[in-house]
């Protein structure tokens, strides 16, 4: 389990990827929200779906 958080003296790659991915996604979502005219709820649902898919993909790749 430790491998998911800490490995060989640095942050484990899955955790690092998940953090970077989440942060970048929030920034992208903020940008898209300003450009498109969709309701905020729809954008939020879309972002959450993409975020979950990304996390699942990270998990699958790491396994």
């Amino acid at each position: 389990m430790t491998d998911w958080f800490w490995s060989h003296g640095h942050l484990a790659w899955p955790l690092f990827v998940a953090l970077v991915y989440s942060g970048v996604l929030v920034l992208l979502a903020d940008y898209c929200w300003r450009l498109v005219t969709l309701p905020a709820r729809q954008i939020l649902a879309g972002v959450l779906a993409v975020w979950l898919l990304g996390l699942i993909a990270t998990y699958v790749i790491w396994l």
Partner: protein
Amino acid sequence: MILIVQLVILACLAVALGLCLLNFPYPSPLVRALLPAKKRWPELQIRGWLKTERFHPGYLKFFYRDPARFPAADQGILAPADGLVTSCDVREGVRYMVIALTFWDMHTQRSPMSGQVVSVDPLGDAHTDGEGRDFAFLREKFCPVQTRLVIDTDSGRVAVRLITSVAARRIETWVDPGETIERGQRIGRILLGSTVVLEMPQDWPLTVAVGARVRAGETVVANAVVAA
């Protein structure tokens, strides 16, 4: 080493997210440059700046832009301002073409025709606020802050009213009475103002309709008819 790189990347991301959060609901400096003007400085934010008078320097630079304009080759009457034509009503033989400017329009005004400046009159200095529509600009006592430039041309007399609100209250004019000006020449600027009205004889045929977007010094809005 890997840990340091990871921490630097995460720190950069944290700063970006922090900026995003600090500026919310308005755009953070990181995405501002990537957005179109209207989204870069939303109207609500600009109205807030009008109250505090602390404008974002980037917005002021954008607002004061003054690009070169190339008048159409024919002798049509040019739009004096960038904006939306909201009215072309006639009153007592004069057609008043009202051009509404938004916060994102270029605010330098240009002469609609060549001619001689007859007068530059500041009007309505300390009265009620207004957007210059519904002929509010004609009211003698309760008009918005405005400056009226009258130009004598070969085809007749035209006038340009630069109208602003009490909140903004600043109009610059760059021509003086007696001066000869060229078609499309810069004549002034409304600082954070809202409306420009072009006055011309009612029998001059219009080439644009209400609802059209026009560009100062480029769009031909009417054709002058020389009186017989």
